[in-house]
């Protein structure tokens, strides 16, 4: 777990000793090609949607395969800059920015890189997101993932934890010991120490001290971003949501890899356009569509399979309970005291306590958040999606379904893989669900 590249080279890889020779160049090329094709398809579908805000074009460009971001980061690295990849939402991005590095989200939504990972691991039951992320690093199919000089990986679920360990064969990893039992004082202290450890590792990487001034300035910026994101979400509370669920997810996921200063400017433009749209009565949802809340396993761009099916079947995603959606930026860092220790503790708490990832126990706040969202957004039904092999979400699905049943909110549970094979099957179920919701409302 040493930050310096030299040491990692000397260290014997744990998983593949012959890294170069394990895959043929053809396979890598095929993975790249298919990833590009898949992303292009998704992007075309998203951008051809009717009544879509024009300001969203920026986010399309940013998130596209082989897009501007990879080029920018390449230039940044050539000038000596460092890029840090993050694996889960618990990594304080303010800290990475304050250290002078840039951050990218490593979790991959591409389908094709699953196969190289499968060849190595041979575990069909493992979470496809983990496999895809590993695969894209193995055959270096994603130019953005290749930019990472270091990876910050909180040990959330089993898959992510071992993924971080496996990634060590390619890139230095800072594992973060996330206390999965939320106890209050003791877990807060442990997590604070992990954040401070990350801070030291970041300073080693960039050779720059993380100053308090820079950190506070970054926290202020992210608070501004969070305020804007909440405003965008507020617009979806109304009868006519001006932005689709997929686009909203695209916007918020872009914040994980973008410069937040630029993101804030662009989202402010977007917000202005959306507000204008609300005033003139424009809506992206068709009339009488069922209002859906999306929750469950992460859906990383371009894996927008489930949301696209929902929105094509007459549903309108008005909010979500996803770590790749609303939850990502919902909470600001509230500074009370400006001493260094208190700033770090506020930062660590922000990334730990409000997070309702199913890897935590107790996780009752997930239900609270869910019910709160159902009332404020006027949700008709819940679509619960879990990736194959996502045990934590599978387990919580039962709890959530029972709690929803008590309140008379219907829920459908979908399980999906990282391929196109199950699209039609899922579509049939979602269509039936949406029809049922519409019929219920008419009653």
């Amino acid at each position: 777990m040493n930050g310096a590249t030299k040491d990692t080279d000397r260290k014997r890889p744990r998983y593949i000793s012959d890294r170069k020779g394990f895959f043929s160049a053809e396979q890598a090329e095929r993975t790249r090609k298919r990833s590009r094709e898949m992303e292009k398809k998704v992007r075309t579908r998203l951008s051809s949607a009717k009544g879509r805000a024009k300001a969203l074009a920026y986010f399309d460009e940013l998130m596209r395969y082989d897009g501007v971001r990879a080029v920018e980061l390449k230039e940044f690295r050539e000038k000596g800059g460092k890029v840090v990849g993050t694996l889960c939402v618990m990594v304080p991005l303010e800290l990475i920015e304050a250290s002078g590095a840039k951050h990218i989200r490593l979790c991959s939504g591409y389908y094709e890189p699953v196969h190289p990972a499968n060849e190595l691991l041979g575990d069909a039951g493992l979470c496809p997101l983990v496999k895809s992320t590993l695969g894209s690093k193995m055959v270096s199919s994603d130019p953005l993932v290749d930019m990472a000089d270091m990876v910050a990986g909180p040990a959330t679920c089993d898959g992510k934890m071992k993924l971080a360990e496996m990634l060590e064969d390619w890139v230095p990893v800072v594992m973060m010991n996330l206390p999965r039992v939320k106890l209050g004082g003791t877990s807060s202290e442990l997590w604070l120490n992990e954040v401070l450890h990350l801070k030291r590792k970041l300073s080693e990487l960039t050779g720059r001290k993380v100053t308090k001034k820079a950190l506070v300035e970054r926290i202020r910026k992210w608070n501004e971003a969070s305020e804007l994101w909440n405003k965008v979400c507020d617009l979806r509370k109304g009868k006519d949501p001006p932005i689709s669920g997929q686009d909203a997810m695209l916007v918020v996921q872009a914040s994980q890899s973008d410069d937040i200063d630029r993101w804030v400017v662009k989202v402010r433009e977007l917000l202005k356009e959306l507000e204008e749209k609300v005033r003139s009565g424009g809506s992206v949802a068709e009339k009488g569509s069922a209002r859906i809340l999306l929750m469950g396993s992460p859906m990383i761009y371009p894996n927008f399979k489930i949301p696209s099916i929902v929105e094509e079947s007459g549903g309108s995603i008005v909010t979500d309970e996803l770590c790749t959606g609303f939850r990502l930026m919902a909470d600001p860092v509230l500074l009370d005291d400006l001493s260094e220790k208190e700033i770090y503790s506020a930062l660590a708490d922000r990334y730990y306590f409000p997070c309702s990832c199913p890897c935590f126990s107790p996780n009752d706040e997930r239900l609270t958040r869910l019910f709160n969202a159902i009332t404020t957004f006027g949700v008709d039904g819940v679509v619960f999606h879990s990736l194959r092999g996502c045990h934590l979400n599978n387990l919580e699905a039962t709890k959530i379904e029972l709690a929803l049943r008590e309140r008379g909110i219907p829920m459908v549970k979908l399980e999906s893989e990282y391929d196109e094979g199950d699209v039609e099957q899922v579509r049939t179920r979602v269509e039936a669900f949406v029809e049922m919701l519409k019929a219920r409302r008419k009653k």
């Binding site: 209050g184 608070n223 501004e224 208190e342 708490d349």
Partner: protein, 325 residues
């Protein structure tokens, strides 16, 4: 201090606290608040005018409690009961608003905390076990006051000669006594040469040092607060939490100067004020959830939390980049 929050209660509270301090200072120069009218003079609402201010016409209610315990045995403790009744009614009506909105002790502690904040020294965070222990100290002090004062007053016990030394046991260790005695002597309002209240001066120093590092250090052990806390459950003003809106982000507990765990832990009952909340509204200011925490009076919400936004003031730290342009 923080320029990103939902509500802004602090200025109002500061004004109220200044009023509270002015109240004591006016008594210091001999202007009676309730007038010297005989009936009004005897109403002792909780106030903080110290008996050791020479010209003060009334005194702190805790002094009256001790006095009533000692002197009361001849009069069936009637004075004490009337006093306690007045205090209970005041607590039911005003709750512990007193503590963080008017009490001069509270104002001085916050001033010290503010200075500490300016010096960027982090506050001392106690471990849970120590916090719980401290909470008991205030009841212990209350109990000791009674157990010392009461037998002294009963002449049959034959320890009446202790009256000169041990009556008013709490006043002997109260920081206010130290402060007012010394300051009056320094200002020449009282002649030098009377004995120096060493105990009170030591506790004054302890008060200053501990509340500099630990937020609301004195409030945690104050027996007056302890007496109020006994009746806190029935008071009309309270801190209301809507557990359905709580996302357990723990901001409330982090900013609470009393480290009042209940505001974070409680997920069933609406009333989270409990024994320790002084209704300062810090958590209401910073709670990021719309309408989750409120300062409530009976059925009415005085102020509720709302989503934080950028405030117009900001610290000089912020004068760097703007909007990435």
């Amino acid at each position: 201090m923080s320029d990103f929050k939902g509500r802004n209660i602090r200025p109002l509270r500061l004004a109220s606290q200044l009023l509270g301090v002015a109240f004591v200072l006016s008594l210091l120069i001999g202007i009676p608040t309730f007038g010297t009218f005989p009936v009004l003079r005897n109403i002792f609402l909780p106030n903080a005018s110290c008996r050791y201010i020479n010209s003060a016409p009334t005194s702190c209610y805790y002094y009256q409690v001790q006095d009533g315990l000692v002197q009361g045995s001849s009069g069936f403790y009637l004075d004490l009961l009337i006093l306690l009744l007045a205090v209970v009614i005041a607590i039911v009506l005003l709750g512990r608003f007193w503590c963080s909105w008017l009490c001069p002790f509270g104002a001085v502690q916050e001033l010290l905390s503010w200075v500490r904040g300016l010096l960027r020294i982090p506050p001392l965070r106690l471990k849970w076990a120590h916090r719980v222990l401290l909470r008991r100290v205030k009841y212990t002090l209350l109990f000791l006051t009674v157990i010392i004062s009461l037998p002294i007053g009963i002449s049959a016990l034959g320890i009446s000669q202790c009256q000169s030394t041990l009556a008013l046991p709490f006043c002997q260790v109260c920081p206010a006594k130290g402060f007012f005695t010394v300051s009056q002597q320094v200002l020449g309002l009282e002649p030098w040469g009377t004995t120096l209240p060493i105990l009170a001066i030591v506790s004054l120093l302890l008060f200053l040092v501990s509340s500099f590092f630990l937020r609301n250090a004195y409030c945690r052990i104050c027996p007056m607060g302890g007496l109020m806390a006994l009746f806190g459950r029935v008071s009309l003003p309270y801190l209301r939490k809507d557990p359905d809106k709580c996302t357990k982000c723990r901001v409330c507990l982090r900013v609470c100067p009393m480290d009042h765990d209940r505001v974070y832990d409680e997920m069933e009952r609406m009333d989270v004020a409990g024994e320790d909340c002084t209704l300062c509204g810090r958590c209401v200011e910073l709670c990021p959830e719309e309408g989750c925490l409120s300062l409530t009076y009976g059925p009415y919400d005085l102020v509720s939390s709302r989503r934080p936004r950028k405030r117009w003031w900001s610290l000089p730290l912020n004068k760097t980049r703007e909007n990435g342009k």
